[in-house]
């Protein structure tokens, strides 16, 4: 019970201090609006925010699917051959360490300026790729070495070994990668939308930019709260699936 009550109490306290401070010192609303103003904005702009949240959510989800297919598939392919792994890993790491903001303008050009949403999905997928690739690859190698020896002893084929031993052993790692990737996909989608910038996509990041340009700080904070809630929901759902699968597998 206290695990739920304690953080809620802290949040309530912080909000109260914030509200009181804003009123006491008469802080300008463009600088820091009181929480009550943010709530008003949330309620008034609910339809717009919901539409934008849906768009960002859809793009992040698509990116996650693309990253899972590419990352998982490539890890599977690479796990079969050590040479392939040596060849691919530096490229995967290079992709991981390249700042997404830096490649965003390029990807926008490639996707075509009329298809900014595709660029957003591609960029979000690029950041979500690495944790999935890395998780699946680690997982495929995580099987008990004695079980691997058992498969050697009975002359298992590569396909048998993959299906009956390595893939089940890899699943928890893959799902953990997916959980990390789901957070990164949201970040990637937001960054890409910032860079594309002109309302070509109308996700939550665009709402943030738009409100910021108009100095409507309460609206910015409302969009930010939606973004936070969305990120939490996404990683919560993936985390739940991960725990279920982990419990089933062990």
């Amino acid at each position: 019970m206290s695990r739920l009550v304690a953080p809620l109490a802290l949040i309530a306290l912080l909000l109260a201090v914030w509200e009181i401070a804003c009123r006491l010192w008469q802080v300008p609303v463009y600088f820091l609006p009181p929480p009550s103003a943010v709530v008003v904005s949330l309620v008034e702009r609910a339809p717009i925010l919901a539409g934008s949240a849906l768009q960002t959510f859809r793009m992040a989800l698509q990116a996650l699917a693309v990253a899972a297919l590419l990352g998982g598939g490539l890890a599977l392919a690479v796990s079969i051959s050590r040479t392939a792994e040596h060849a691919v890993r530096p490229l995967a790491v290079a992709l991981q360490v390249t700042p997404i903001v830096a490649i965003a303008p390029l990807v926008l050009i490639w996707a075509g300026l009329d298809h900014a949403d595709r660029a957003v999905v591609a960029l979000a997928a690029a950041v979500a790729f690495f944790p999935i690739f890395s998780g699946v690859l680690t997982g495929l190698k995580s099987a008990d070495p004695d079980l691997e020896r058992l498969f050697d002893l009975y002359g298992a084929s590569r396909v048998q070994r993959l299906i009956r031993l390595r893939i089940p052993a890899a699943l928890p790692f893959a799902l953990e990668g997916l959980r990390v990737a789901s957070g990164l996909a949201v970040i990637g989608a937001v960054v890409a939308e910032f860079v594309s910038g002109s309302g070509a996509t109308q996700g939550l990041a665009w709402r943030l930019l738009e409100s910021g340009n108009r100095l409507r700080t309460a609206d910015m904070l409302a969009a930010l709260i939606c973004l936070m809630a969305m990120g939490l929901a996404l990683s919560g759902v993936v985390g739940l699936v991960e725990r279920r699968v982990r419990a089933y597998l062990s």
Binding site: L150, L153, Y154, G155, P168
Partner: protein, 253 residues
């Protein structure tokens, strides 16, 4: 010993490692249907000897031969069951990997589990089994292919002594119940367990990695009740214990 009487043998087998001392040269031959116990301190190369006999590792020098390729089974120190599969699926695995149709493999797996007293636990997951039961399932998985050579690497080390004694009796009766009898090589660090279990006990020297002593054990297998009190048994245990103490790495102390 004539070639026909050997099911597996190591001849001057040496295994070199990049990061630790080499093991061997090892000389060990196993006759069909015999039970051999291999004792020695940690690092003496007991597990390596088993992996060589199984063909899971190649010697850097010398020879490891087996006349039972594909007829060899291995039981590891831990049960090494697949945690995501039930007992029956785990035990059916060796058969399915070597191409036995699924229904037949599952039926044979059920029979193998019944032979180790787990006939009622076919659908249990490994985590639902006690340590002793998991080890029985592991034994069933090794026996399901009707191997001619059964290699066991300290399989009962993690179990309590009562469970361990039960499993040794079970192993004896499973061995005696098969025709022809499988050869068993059993690695342990417990001399009494070795002498009770095996028809012959081999002591590996921890320093040189070579065979320090090999000695047949008197008496019939399965053992008579109270055989642990037999003077022959005691004398063999004491002799081998002295050889093992001499073969320990810290024997100077």
């Amino acid at each position: 010993m004539a070639v026909a009487d050997v099911i597996a043998a190591l001849t001057g087998a040496v295994v070199r490692y990049a990061d630790r001392a080499a093991i061997g040269p090892l000389n060990l031959s196993v006759a069909p249907g015999e039970i051999v116990a291999v004792v020695g301190a940690s690092g003496a190369g007991k597990s390596t000897a088993l992996r060589l006999l199984a063909g899971l590792e190649r010697p850097s020098e010398g020879q490891a031969i087996t006349t039972a390729p594909g007829r060899t089974a291995f039981v590891f120190q831990s049960p090494t069951l697949m945690p995501w599969a039930d007992a029956q699926t785990n035990v059916a695995l060796p058969l399915e990997l070597s191409g036995t149709p699924k229904d037949e493999a599952r039926a044979l797996a059920a029979a193998a589990l019944a032979s180790v007293g787990l006939g009622e636990r076919l659908t249990a997951r490994p985590r639902q089994l006690s340590g002793g039961m998991a080890m029985r399932a592991s034994l069933a998985r090794a026996l399901v292919t009707q191997p001619d050579l059964l290699l066991l690497d300290e399989p009962f080390a993690a179990l309590d002594s009562v469970t361990r004694r039960h499993l040794i009796e079970d192993l004896h009766s499973l061995w005696a119940g098969r025709s022809p009898r499988p050869a068993i090589v059993f690695v342990t660090h417990d001399i009494e367990e070795a002498v009770y279990l095996a028809g012959r006990t081999v002591v590996l020297d921890a320093v040189s990695g070579q065979v320090a002593m090999a000695r047949p054990t008197p008496g019939d297998i399965p053992r008579q009740a109270g055989w642990r009190g037999d003077p022959d048994y005691r004398e063999t245990v004491e002799t081998l214990a002295a050889a093992l103490a001499h073969a320990m790495p810290d024997r100077v102390a």
